[in-house]
Amino acid sequence: MAMMNFFEYAGRPFVGILEEFGRVMLLFLSAAVWAFRPPFRLRQVFKQMEAVGVNSLPVVLITAVSSGMVLALQSYYGFRMFGGESLVGATVALSMTREIGPVFTALMVTGRAGSAMAAEIGTMRVKEQIDALYAMSVNPVQFLVMPRVLAGMVTLPVLTVVSDFIGIVGGYFVGGQLLGINSGVFMARIYEMLDLNDIFNGLIKAVCFGLILSVVSCYKGFYTTGGAEGVGRAATQAVVISTVSIFISDFFLTAVMF
């Protein structure tokens, strides 16, 4: 019996993780199912798109332009060692479109919108507004979760495209204007090395990240317990788990796509 207790004790965290993973999947599935059932609640979807996409734009732009500029600067010092300065443009473009664009955008959106989602839904949960929705025969998954997941999946690629572009512009500014790399060569190398597939694969990643961050954040909010403190914990956990999931899935997505 003691033996049994030991295994039970040791195994509980794993079982807990599995349970949580299963609940996230179930929430996602029911959101997916509710997305195809009327009423479609477009109003909610647009509202969430504004919250997740439009309002995240400034922070994503700043992140993208800085990372593009830093990339140009850092790779310039590396490439200068063997006279490959002309490759800076291609490096910036490839890194931005393949990795930095989608990942940084997803991280910023997680920080800005993911935490908001968890806090919002969590507050509604602890204030028993979700129960009220049930009482009004409004499915809370359709009303709260589905619009956020859809908004995340739609807006993340758009933000990523903007981020890619602005990042390359930042790299061009630093490389071509400040460091004195010939701007024609800079652009020619980008055209030579960059494939449309690089951009598209980055966008596929962005869709996945959007899905992950919105589902995880909604889940954390949806199952919040413990009053105001619980709401705070839910927001924090939503950001942490989303971020970690994004990085882990990024590895697998990269391995599959490139």
Binding site: V54, T155, L196
Partner: protein, 497 residues
């Protein structure tokens, strides 16, 4: 200012994303999701190590397509190239795998091919390839070479190093020294002879150069003088020898020696001769004198040598071809044979002499009278007789086009030749036998040489003739250049008795 609605904000946001994506897609411009337009060409390589799909295919550095597919067929790497539409590739263009940049990116470059070759059709195969420069293979070869050098140097060390080797070397050097000494002695002993030889040589080159411009008698005289002088020198030397030996032997003394008239006479004569010779040499008289004193002589020898050189160089471009060919004329069912000597002093010019055995060269008309039903009927019978005909032509060539003129089968004529495939294929049109009554004899000939020395010939003979003489013909020929003949003759086994 009214506040934007949520929908408008989201709309602007999404449109902005789509516009930027569209702009980047246009700029990057390689919509590889779509199947690229163009046509496929196959190439087989022994190894495509490092080659990846979608790498560029270039002609003269311009991208004309991409590698679409790489697969293994019968142990060879089959590479499918997708060539852009409108790009023409010659069938004999060579496909080479090249490496670019320090990172060693592989790409394929196609040669331009020969201008006369046809364009390749979609799906066809390019046959001429050159494998990628394999760094490993190169290193392997270098290693082999290094090993060879090492074994060579070690065997050299074995031969030359050690006591035995040193002794051998010493012996070799000693032998060499002896040889040089012997040579020296020989030369000194035969100095007179050598002088004479040199004199003769100078004389010869002079005669060669100034044929008739030099007084040969003078030279003869000089040579006579010289030989007389050297004869006398010989006697003098004998005398001196005798004197010295006597002095050495202690016989007599110097006083007696001086009083001896014969000795003084001899000595005087010797000195006189010596002075005479050296004076002559100094004044530039005689052949040796001239040789020593006059730069002109040296120049003359130089010019003579240059002349010989020029002549030899001319000989090098000078070629002679012997050619025999037979033609079978289908219409007449007879064969015509040609024996040709072609003398080609320069690449673009030759003279052609030809003997033609024409079985229908001459018309022999015989009249036969016979009685038919009491009347005398005169019949004419025309027989064609074998005749030898001669051709002599001058030909001049401009790149692929040759023009000939002169005698064609004992009549006047002209011809145009067109050379293809490194002269292995020639088309000729000959026109000869111009007279007032008939059309000229036109002959179209195509020669193809599949291997050296042998060629096939076909054509259409006398095709604007109005007497029904036109005929297709087919034949073969054999041709040798002068070098071949030389080789042939020297290699023929000679009976030993």
């Amino acid at each position: 200012m009214t506040k934007l609605t949520v929908e408008a904000k989201v709309g602007v946001f999404v449109v902005m994303g789509i516009v930027i994506l569209g702009y980047m897609a246009m700029k990057v411009g390689k919509l590889s999701l779509m199947r690229e337009k163009g046509y496929d060409v196959e190439v087989f390589f022994d190894s495509v190590s490092g080659l990846a799909p979608d790498v560029p295919v270039e002609i003269a550095g311009v991208e004309v397509g991409r590698v679409r597919d790489i697969s293994l067929v019968d142990g060879m790497a089959r590479v499918v190239l997708r060539i852009k539409p409108g790009v023409k590739i010659k069938k004999d263009a060579k496909a080479v795998i090249r490496t670019r940049g320090i990172l060693g990116d592989k790409y394929i470059t196609l040669g331009k091919g020969s201008p006369s070759a046809p364009d390749i059709k979609p799906g066809q195969r390019l046959w001429r390839t050159e494998p990628a420069m394999d760094l490993d293979a190169l290193m392997g070869t270098l290693q082999d070479v290094a090993a060879d050098i090492k074994s060579l140097s070690s065997s050299l060390t074995g031969v030359l190093g050690g006591a035995e080797g040193k002794a051998t070397l010493k012996a070799i050097f000693n032998n060499f020294k002896e040889m040089v000494q012997t040579l020296n002695n020989t030369v000194q002993k035969n100095r007179d002879n050598i002088d004479v030889i040199v004199a003769n040589l100078t004389d010869f080159s002079k005669t060669l150069k100034e044929l008739g411009g030099v007084n040969v008698k003078d030279i003869q005289k000089i040579i006579e003088n010289l030989s007389q002088a050297s004869d006398r020198l010989g006697t003098v030397m004998e005398g001196m020898n005798r004197i010295v030996s006597r002095v050495n032997a202690g016989k007599g003394n110097i006083g007696r020696l001086l009083n001896e008239e014969e000795a003084i006479d001899n000595l005087n004569a010797a000195l006189a001769s010596l002075r005479e010779i050296s004076e002559k040499i100094n004044q530039g008289q005689g052949t040796i004198g001239k040789l020593v004193n006059e730069e002109e002589t040296a120049e003359k020898i130089n010019t003579a040598l240059t002349g010989i050189n020029d002549y030899l160089q001319k000989q090098e471009t000078f070629r002679t071809y012997v050619d025999y060919r037979g033609e079978y004329l289908f219409e007449h069912e007879w064969a015509k044979s040609y024996f040709t000597l072609r003398i080609q002093p320069k690449e673009d010019k030759y003279y052609l002499f030809q003997v033609v055995d024409d079985p229908a060269g001459k018309e022999k008309v015989t009249r036969i009278r016979r009685e038919v039903d009491g009347q005398i009927v005169e019949e004419e019978r025309v027989e064609l007789e074998d005749e030898l005909k001669f051709s002599a032509q001058i030909a001049k060539r401009y790149y692929n086009l040759g023009l000939r003129g002169g005698f064609f089968e004992s009549t006047g004529g002209v011809a145009i030749d067109y050379y293809l495939l490194d002269d292995r294929l020639t088309f000729s049109l000959e026109a000869f036998d111009f007279d007032w009554e008939d059309n000229p004899h036109l002959k179209f000939i195509a020669n193809f040489s599949p291997i050296h020395h042998i060629y096939l010939t076909a054509g259409y003979d006398d095709f604007i003739n109005d007497e029904g003489q036109e005929s297709f013909f087919l034949g073969a020929g054999i041709q040798f250049a002068d070098e071949d003949i030389k080789t042939l003759i020297t290699n023929v086994p000679i009976p030993t008795h």
